[in-house]
C-alpha cells in the first residue's frame, strides 16, 4: 500500500504483516468483493466520474482477476480489497486510482460478507432440504414399522420408525426456516455509507443496492459500516441446524449400537479398526455428532469478538468472519454426508422385535380410567405393580391372578394381554400427531409440502443471485 507512506513511516515486518492480514479468509468472499467493486465503479460512472470506456475495461479486469493472486500476494497488502485495488491500478489505472473514492473497506467488506452469507443461507437451506427429503421418504416407507420410543433413555412406549424419522425431519425444517428468516436482515446493503458517518461523494445508495441484488439498505452509516448483528443472526440459524444434526447423529449412533441394532446403514458409512478385526464403527455419524460443539465454539468466539465495540469499525471485526465461514462450511458438509447416509437407512433386526411389552401399560391404565373402573392414580399404581411383577419374571397368569384378586372384573383382566402387544397399543393412540401409522402418514404429507416450499425458495434465491452477479460484472448497460 503505497499510500501508507503519507501518514506512517517504515515498513511492517513480514511476520507482523502476516499476523494482521486476512488474505487467507478473504478467499471465501473474493467473488463478492469483485461484484462490490463492479457496482461501485458503476456508481462512479453514474456520477460521471469515470467514462463508459474506463468502466468497460475495469469490469473486464475484475472478471479476469486471477484467483491465485490472493495466495501469492504480499501480506503487507493486508486484505482482498487492496489486492483487487492493486490489480485494477495496474490494469486500468483510471479506475484503480479512484477505487476508494467514497468507498471504504468498512462498508465494502460488510457488503461482501452479507452477500456471501445470504448465498450460504440459500445453499444451506437447499442442502438441508436435501437431508429432509430422504428422512421423509424413509419415514413414509417405514410408517408402520414398529419401533421403541424412549424417555429418560429407557423404553417408554411403542411407536413406529416413521414417527421417529418424521420428528427429525420436522425439527430440521423448522431450523431451516429459522435460518432462512435471517435472510431478510442480512440482505441489506451497507454500500455508500463511507467509513463511519457518510461521505460527500453523492452515491445513489439505492441504485448500488439494486445492482447487487440487495432488498434495500442499512440506513444508518455507522451501523452499516460496523454492525455484525446480521452475522449473529446467521450463526444463530446455524446453531439451530447443528443442534438438529447432532441429535440426529446421536440417535443414529445409538440405534446402530443397540443389541440387536434398531437401525442399519450401508457399510460405506462405517469403518473397521486397524487392530480389532471385528469392529464396525459408525464413523460418519460420530463425526456428524460433533456439529453442535463446532458451531457453538464459533458462536462463542464470534459473539465475544464483536461485543464491547467502541465507535465504528475495529479490526476485531476482521477476526469475526472466519467463524462464519467455518461454521457454514462444516454445516453444509454435514448436511450432505448425513443425506447420503440416511438414503441407505433401513430397520435393523431389533426394530420390530425389541419393544418392551411393559411399555403398553400406560394405555392399559388409561383404559381402566376411561372405562370408569379406576381413577387414574389407582390405575397407575396397579400398573406399576404389574410392571414390577413382570420385571421380576412373574408369569402373565400370576399377574392376572393378582389383578382379579385386586378386584378387577374379568373383561379388564383379559384386556391386559392386548395392551402388552405393541402393535395394538399404537392403534389406540387417539390424538393428532401420534405415532399411529395413519397419523404419521398424514403429518408426513404436510412436511413434504413445507420441504418443497423451502427448496423452491432456496433455488430461486440462488438463481436470482447468479443472474445479478453476471449482470453487475458484465458489460456496460
Amino acid at each position: 500500500m503505497a499510500f501508507r507512506k503519507g501518514r506512517l513511516e517504515g515498513e511492517v515486518p513480514e511476520r507482523v504483516a502476516r499476523y494482521i492480514s486476512s488474505l487467507e479468509e478473504d478467499e471465501e468472499i473474493l467473488d463478492e468483493v469483485l461484484a462490490v467493486n463492479a457496482a461501485h465503479l458503476r456508481s462512479l460512472r453514474r456520477m460521471g466520474l469515470i467514462s463508459d470506456d474506463v468502466l468497460e475495461r475495469a469490469l473486464g479486469a475484475l472478471r479476469g482477476f486471477p484467483r491465485e493472486a490472493l495466495r501469492t500476494a504480499d501480506p503487507r497488502l493486508e486484505d482482498v480489497h487492496m489486492v483487487v485495488e492493486e490489480h485494477l491500478r495496474s490494469e486500468v489505472p483510471e479506475a484503480g486510482e479512484n477505487l476508494a473514492l467514497g468507498k471504504s473497506r468498512n462498508d465494502a467488506v460488510s457488503a461482501a460478507i452479507r452477500m456471501r452469507v445470504r448465498r450460504f443461507i440459500a445453499e444451506l437451506v437447499l442442502s438441508g432440504t436435501g437431508l429432509a427429503e430422504p428422512l421423509l421418504s424413509k419415514a413414509e416407507e417405514y410408517a408402520e414399522t414398529l419401533f421403541p420410543l424412549h424417555t429418560h433413555e429407557q423404553p417408554a412406549a411403542p411407536g413406529t420408525l416413521g414417527f421417529v424419522l418424521s420428528c427429525h425431519a420436522s425439527r430440521l425444517l423448522k431450523a431451516l426456516r429459522a435460518l432462512a428468516s435471517a435472510y431478510g436482515e442480512v440482505n441489506a446493503s451497507p454500500l455508500g455509507a463511507g467509513p463511519v458517518g457518510g461521505t460527500s461523494v453523492p452515491h445513489d445508495r439505492l441504485a448500488i443496492a439494486e445492482d447487487l441484488g440487495f432488498d434495500g439498505v442499512v440506513l444508518n452509516a455507522l451501523e452499516a459500516s460496523s454492525s455484525r448483528d446480521f452475522a449473529l443472526a446467521f450463526l444463530c440459524g446455524l446453531l439451530r441446524v447443528s443442534l438438529v444434526l447432532t441429535d440426529l447423529a446421536e440417535e443414529l449412533v445409538r440405534y446402530v449400537s443397540q443389541n440387536p441394532p434398531l437401525l442399519d446403514f450401508d457399510d460405506a458409512f462405517f469403518s473397521t479398526s486397524s487392530i480389532m478385526p471385528h469392529k464396525r464403527n459408525p464413523v460418519v455419524a460420530e463425526v456428524a455428532r460433533t456439529s453442535l460443539s463446532r458451531v457453538l465454539g464459533e458462536l462463542v468466539r464470534f459473539s465475544v469478538n464483536v461485543s464491547r465495540r467502541f465507535g465504528g469499525y475495529v479490526l476485531d471485526l476482521q477476526e469475526s468472519t472466519e467463524p462464519l465461514w467455518r461454521a457454514a462450511r462444516w454445516t453444509l458438509e454435514t448436511l450432505e454426508a448425513m443425506a447420503e447416509m440416511v438414503r441407505t437407512l433401513r430397520p435393523g433386526p431389533g426394530a420390530g422385535t425389541s419393544i418392551d411389552p411393559k411399555t403398553g401399560l400406560t394405555e392399559y391404565a388409561a383404559w381402566l380410567t376411561l372405562t370408569g373402573r379406576l381413577t387414574f392414580r389407582r390405575a397407575h399404581l396397579l400398573c406399576g405393580r404389574i410392571a414390577s411383577m413382570l420385571h421380576s419374571g412373574a408369569s402373565l397368569e400370576s399377574v392376572e391372578a393378582y389383578l382379579t384378586e385386586s378386584g378387577l372384573d374379568r373383561e379388564a383382566v383379559a384386556k391386559l394381554r392386548e395392551f402388552l402387544e405393541p402393535r395394538r397399543v399404537i392403534g389406540t393412540y387417539a390424538v393428532i400427531g401420534s405415532s399411529r401409522p395413519d397419523e404419521v402418514r398424514r403429518s408426513i404429507g404436510e412436511l413434504v409440502r413445507e420441504c418443497g416450499e423451502l427448496k423452491a425458495w432456496a433455488t430461486d434465491r440462488l438463481r436470482f443471485e447468479e443472474e445479478r452477479r453476471a449482470r453487475v460484472l458484465g458489460g456496460v448497460r
Copy 2:
C-alpha cells in the same frame, strides 16, 4: 408421590431429592402450570370424564393455589406439577386423581415453558421499546450536536450525537424484531402429545391450544414432548438484545470517561469509592455491559444441555429451563435500568469541542478528486502528508505553503481550512443515512414509527394473554 411405591422401593434421601428437584426454578412457571391444568381439566370435561361441578371446584382450587406452597413443599414431590396435583387431590379428589390422565409432565412442562417464554418475549419487547424511546428522543434532541466518530477506537470523522444514538436505537429495534420473530415458533401447543408418542385419551389438541391462546399445535408428539428448539430460538433473540446492550453500555462508560467527557448522566447512575473521595464511577453502565457474557454463558449451558438427546424427554431438559429464566430476567432488568439512565443523558463538555480537525481530511481528499484535481490515491497521499505535518505541530500556514509547492491551485489550497471545520464537513455528507443533521432527523422518524409498531404488538400480546388466562382459569363456560 404415593404412586412411586407401585414401581420402586424405598424412599429418596432428602439431600438426593433436593438435588433432582426443580421446585425452585418452577416458581417462574407456576401461573402457566395452573393454566395448563385448567385447560387439561376442561378437556377432560369435554370428553365427559369429569362433571361441570367437579370442573368448577377444580378451577377454584387452581385459582386458590397458595404460591408459597412451592417453597415449603417436600422436595420428594420433585416439581411444580406434582405439588399442584397433590393440592388438587386434597381439594377436589375427583379431579386430582385423574389429573395425569392423558397428560404427562413432558407435554405439560413444555406447554408451561412455552407460555412463559412467549410472555417474556412480549415483556422484553415492551421494555426494549421503553429503552428505544429515550434513545430516539435524545437522538432527536441532539441531532445537530457535534460528536466525534471513531474507527479503530481513534478519531475518524466528524458526526453528531443524534447520529450515534440513533445507530444504537436502530440496532436495538432490529434485535427486538429478531426476538419477536421467535414468538411464532414458541407459541404452539404441545399439550395432548402424551409422554412421547401420543395417548389413547382422545384429547382435542386444537381445542386445548385454543383455550390457552396458542396459535396452533406442535404436531409430532415426540417433538412436542421433548424438543427445546423453540427455547434456543428465544435465547438467540436474547443474545441479540444483550449484544446491543453491551455495546451501548461500553460506549456510555467510555464517553463519560473521556477527558473531557463526551456524555454525562445524573449522579444517580454513578457511585463513589469508599476510599477514593474524588471518584465518580459509572456503575450502572459497567454492570449493564456484562449482559452479553451472562446471556452467552446461559446459551452455552443450555445448548450443551439439550444436545445429544437420545429419544424423548430426558431429565437433562429440566436443567435447561433455569438458563432461560436467568437470561430473560437479567435482560429485562438491564433494559429498564438503561432506559432510566438514558433518560438523563446529556452531552458532556467534550462533545462539541473535542473533534480532531484532521478528521475532515477524508472529505478534502474526496473534494480534490470530485473537482478533478487529483486522482483519489494521490489526494489521499497528499492528505496523509497534511495529517502528519499537523500531527507534528506544523502551522496551518506551512501546510498551505506545502500544498502550493505540491502544485495545488489557490482555490484548492484555500479550501483546506473549510474541511478542518467539523460542522462544515458534516454538511458535505451527500448520502442517505449519513450523520448530516437533516438526514439524521429523517431516519429517526422512521425508527420512531418502527418502535411504535413493536410496542403496539407487545402490548397487544400481553393483553390477549391476560384475557385468555383469566378465561381458562375462570368459571365453567
Copy 3:
C-alpha cells in the same frame, strides 16, 4: 453510604440500586469479609491507630454480626463491605469510622474471594475423595467381574467392571489434583494493596497475610486489587472435575439402560413417571450429567466478564463472582449425590453375560502373529472374515472349516474357541494397566494411596483455616 453526598448529588432509585447491588451473592463470603476486617483492624492496632480496647470491642461486634443483615439491608449500601462498615460504625464508631483507612473494597473483596475459593477447593477435594472412595472399593469388589469394553460405542474387548470403575477413579483423582494445584496461586493475600497502586497507610502486608492464613502476598498492588486470574484457575479445576462427573454419569445412565442392564443401583436413585407406570428413570445420573454444561457456562460468562479490563478494578468484576459460587456449589452437590449413588452400585444381569465373543478376535489375531503363523495384517484380515461369518450366523464349525481351508494348522484352528471365551481373553493381557484382574487390583492399590493423600491434604487445610479464622476474630492477643 453517607459519604456519597460529598461527591455526588441525589439518591439512587431503589430499582437501580438493586440492579447494581451484590448483596445477594455476598452471602457466600460473609465469613471471609468479617475475617478480613478483623485482620485489618489488627493492622490498624499494630500501627497504633486504634487502641486494644477499641479492637477488642470491634472484634466482638464482628463476631456478633447478624447474618440476616445482608438480606434486609438497604440495597443502596451496595455490598457486604458497606453493611459491615455500617454495623461497626453503629456498634464501635472509633473502629467503623476508620475501617476504610488504607483498605479499599478492591483489595478487601479480592481477599475474601480468595479465602472462600481456597476453602471451596479443600471442600471439593474432600468431597471428591468421598466419591473416589466408593468407586475404588467397588472396583476392588468387582475386579474379576466380566464387563464389556466399548470403543465407538460398539463392543470392543472383554474387560472387568473393576477396570472400568478404576478408570473413572483415576481420572477423578487427577482432576482433583489439578484443582488442588490452583490452591497455591489462590492463597496469596492482596490486602494492603490499596485501591489500585498502594497506600500511604503503612500496613505490614505480610503480617496481615499471616493473620488470615495466606501463604504470602500478591505483590503488585494493581494486580492484587484487580486480577481475577486466580479465579480462572479455580474454574478450570472445576471444569476438569465436571468433565469427569459428566462422563461418569453418562456411563451410569447408559449401563443401567442397556438390555439387560450392565449395572444397577438402589431404587432411591430412580424416579418413576407420573403417567407411565412401568418407568424407572435414572434421574440422579441424568441431572449429574449436566455438570459439564453448567460449569462451562459459568466459565464462559466469567472469562468474558473479566477480559478486556482497562486499568484496575471495574464493576464488571463484581459480576464475575456469582459464576464461581454457582459452579462450586453445583460441583460439590454433584460429588455428594454421586457418592451416595455409587455406594449402592452393583453389576446388572448383563454384566457377566453380554460380552460379544467376537471381541476376543483381536487377541486371536495377535496370537497368530506372535506364534509366527501370519503377519498381523493377514491375521487381521482373516479375523475380519471370521467376524463377518459369525455376524451372519455361521456356525463355529463352518468357521473352523474355513480357517482350515485358508491354510491354518490344526492347533491354530482349535485355538479360536479359547479366544471366543471372554474370561480367557482377559487372562492373556500382558501389559501393565490392562483389565486383567490382578493388574486391576495392583493399580487400585496405587489409587487408594493417592486418594488418601488428597484427603489428608484437604482435611488439613480445612482444619488450619478454621483455626486461623477463630484466631483472627478472637480476642486481642
Copy 4:
C-alpha cells in the same frame, strides 16, 4: 486400507471419506507419529518379533517419510497412522505388516498428541518469556515515569508506567507457570495400552515411554486410550495466557488512543485507512486482543466434544485435536507479535502530564486521619467536597478557604497542595508492591529471576525432546 474388506463391503464415497478423514489436522503431529512408530518397532524388536536388520531399515523408512504424502494421500486412508503404515508396508513389508501388532490408533494418537502438546507447552513458555522480557525491561526503564492509574475506567491514583507494565509481566509469568504445570500430566505415555483394555502382546510400556522421553505411563489402559483430560489441562493453560494477552492488548489500544496518548509504538504496528488519510490504527494490538475469544471458542468446542463419552475411544475425539492446534498456534503467534511491538514501547506525550491532581485526595484523606485530625469517614467526606469544588472549576484558594472554614488547621490546609502533586503522592506509598519507583524496581528484580527460571526450563525441555527424538528415530542402538 486393504484390511477393511475383511469386515466391510463396498467402498467409501470420496466425499464421505474426506468428511471423516483427519489427514489435514494430522500434519501437526507427523513428527510425533513417526517417533511413536519408531518406539513401537523398537519394542517389537525387544520382544524378538522383528530383527535388527528390519528395524534398521524401518527406521530409515520412517526418517525418509515424505511430508507431502499426507496432502496427496487418498482420504480413504483416514489418517496419518494409516498413511505411515502404508508407507512402511511398501518400503519394509516385514515391519509394515506388523505395525499394528499390539498398537492401536487409539493409544498411538494419544501418544502423538501428548508429545506435540508437551512441545507446544515448552515453545509457548519460551515465547511467553520472550514477551515478559521486554515488558520487564521497559518497566525497569520507565520505573519513574508518571502514569495515571484507573479504576472503573476513571482516573484513580497517580502511579508509574513501570508499575503498570510489571503488573502485566507478573500476570503473564503466572499464566506461563500455570501452563507449564500442565506439562507433568501431559507427559505420560499411553503406549502399549492397546485399543481399550490392554493387549496380549507383552510390550514393556515403561521402556517405550523411556524411548520417547515420557516421564512415566498413563497406567489404566482405558484411560490411556481415550482420555483427553490432559488436553483440557493444556487448553486451560492457554486460556490463562490468552486472558493476559487480551488484557494487555486492550490496554495498549486504549493508551495509544487517549488524547494525548499515554503510550506510543513504532509505526510498523499501525496501519492507515484506505479512505481516511489521517488514520493511524493500532491494528496489531486490535488483532491480539481477540485472543481470549479465540481460545475460549476452541475450549468450548473441545470440552463439549470430549464430554459424555461412553466407553473408550469414539471418533468425536478426532475432532477434538484441531482446537488444540488452532489455540496453540494462535497464542504462539500473538506472543511473538506482541513481543515485537512491546520492544518499541515508549511513553506518549500524555504519560507524565495527564494525571488528574484530584487523584491525590485519597492520600490527603489518609494523612488527615493518620495525623489524628479527622476520622477517615469525615476526611473522606471533606475530600469528596474538595473534589466536587475542583471539578466545578473552583480555585485552589477558595478550596483552602473552605477547608479553613471547616475547621482544619493551617498545616493541614497547606498540606493539600502537596497531595495535588502526583510525584509527591507516589512518594508517600508505604506498602510493599506499591507503585513507588523504588518498590517497583525491587519487584521487577524478582520477576526477572522468575522469568529466567521459566525460560531455562522451557529451553531444557525442548533440547531434551530434540535429543530423544533423534535417538528413537536414529539407528539401532
